[in-house]
């Protein structure tokens, strides 16, 4: 179920709290209900060998708590840092990470791929 050449199917989200903990969209909804401010990052495009497929989510709250992933852990730190801005301003951002630029090298994708991540505030 992980190949991009085949139908992507979600793991079935249930009402169970253990699964909701692991499902970024379910957790984001719960955070919203709890009155927390939330930003959602989505992998929009990938080039080369990117660790997470298009459509993957990372959700972040105003305190920097997060769940999900947009890479194998390589660029999450940078996305979380940007999330504070997006939560404050409400303006979405397009982020790009790859081996080509210096920022990317610092927070780099070890696999050598490139990814574009859309970051927006929920609410």
């Amino acid at each position: 179920m992980t190949s991009r050449d085949s139908i992507r199917t979600d793991a079935l989200p249930s009402g169970g709290s253990a699964e909701d903990q692991l499902d970024p969209l379910m957790l984001a909804e719960r955070w919203m209900r709890d009155g927390r401010q939330v930003a959602m990052a989505t992998v929009i495009e990938t080039w080369g060998s990117a660790p997470r497929p298009v459509g993957s989510h990372l959700v972040i709250d105003a305190d920097g708590n997060f769940t999900g992933s947009v890479s194998g852990g390589c660029v999450e730190g940078a996305v979380i840092a940007e999330a504070a801005d997006v939560i404050a301003s409400g303006a979405p951002k397009m982020l790009e990470f790859g081996v080509a630029d210096e920022t990317a090298w610092r927070v780099g994708l070890s696999c050598g791929g490139r990814i574009q991540v859309y970051l927006e505030r929920v609410g």
């Binding site: 991009r4 992507r8 989200p13 379910m26 959602m40 929009i44 495009e45 303006a91 859309y118 609410g123």
Partner: protein, 229 residues
């Protein structure tokens, strides 16, 4: 993004409905579209394609650039009959990513011993499936040979447009089955969707080989464009 959209999307995912979250990359707008909703223009065409392929991605339209995040439910496989074939099929299907359930009201067959670490229900399909009915993202495999057990789930799967419906039995057995299903009110086209004899024709002989043939056929039904299958 509007929090209500997130709630609606999650509700669709919990309810095993296919949905696409559309994000306007030029203006930051969001919108949720369910399978079957009518959307016109380039975007509508891209949505229909995405519901079929299950692939998320960006599209350029006359109104700008959009990201389509496609959410399809995980495929299920409901196996009717805790028989020898099922003992091989259930773990193989689970390994392939199916959410597997084996159902057989005959308690001599449906035992924990024969099906360890498989979701096994020793009950009639009508009861075993009451909380989670067969849907379009379900493969139904009926292998008991017994009309009392197989017919109800077969009818239910055909009505729900399950993506795969297979039934074990000789041509003679199947001919009788076709008659019964027609009497139950199913149309010729619906009945013709049943894979019978079940499984890809790979000359399978042992129960394990038949399980491979069934699983391959179910995967083909899931992955191949219905028009090209």
């Amino acid at each position: 993004m509007d929090p209500n959209l997130l709630t609606s999307l999650n509700a669709a995912r919990r309810g095993r409905q296919a949905a696409i979250l559309i994000t306007g990359l030029d203006d930051g707008s969001s919108r949720l579209v369910m399978r079957g909703d009518t959307v016109t223009g380039d975007l509508g065409a891209a949505l229909s394609k995405a519901f079929l392929s299950g692939k998320s991605g960006t599209v350029e339209t006359e109104h700008g650039r959009y990201f389509l995040n496609v959410h399809l439910p995980a495929p299920r496989m409901v196996i009717i009959g805790a028989v020898h074939i099922s003992q091989a099929l259930a773990p193989m299907a689970a390994m392939t990513g199916f959410d597997v359930k084996v159902i057989d009201p005959r308690t001599a067959f449906a035992t924990e011993d024969r099906f360890s670490s498989v979701d096994l229900v020793a009950d009639w399909p009508e009861d075993a499936l009451s909380d989670r009915p067969i849907d379009a993202f379900t493969a139904l495999v009926a292998v008991t040979h017994d009309p009392k057990i197989d017919d109800w789930p077969l009818i239910s799967a055909l009505r729900a447009q399950a993506f795969y419906v297979g039934a074990l039995g000789s041509r003679k057995t199947h001919a009788k089955r076709v008659e019964r299903l027609a009497q139950a009110g199913l149309g010729e086209d619906q009945i013709a969707r049943i894979a019978a004899p079940i499984g890809l024709d790979i000359g399978a002989q042992s129960p394990e080989e038949i399980a491979v043939a069934i699983l391959a056929q179910a995967i083909a039904a899931l992955r191949k464009d219905p028009g090209g299958a």
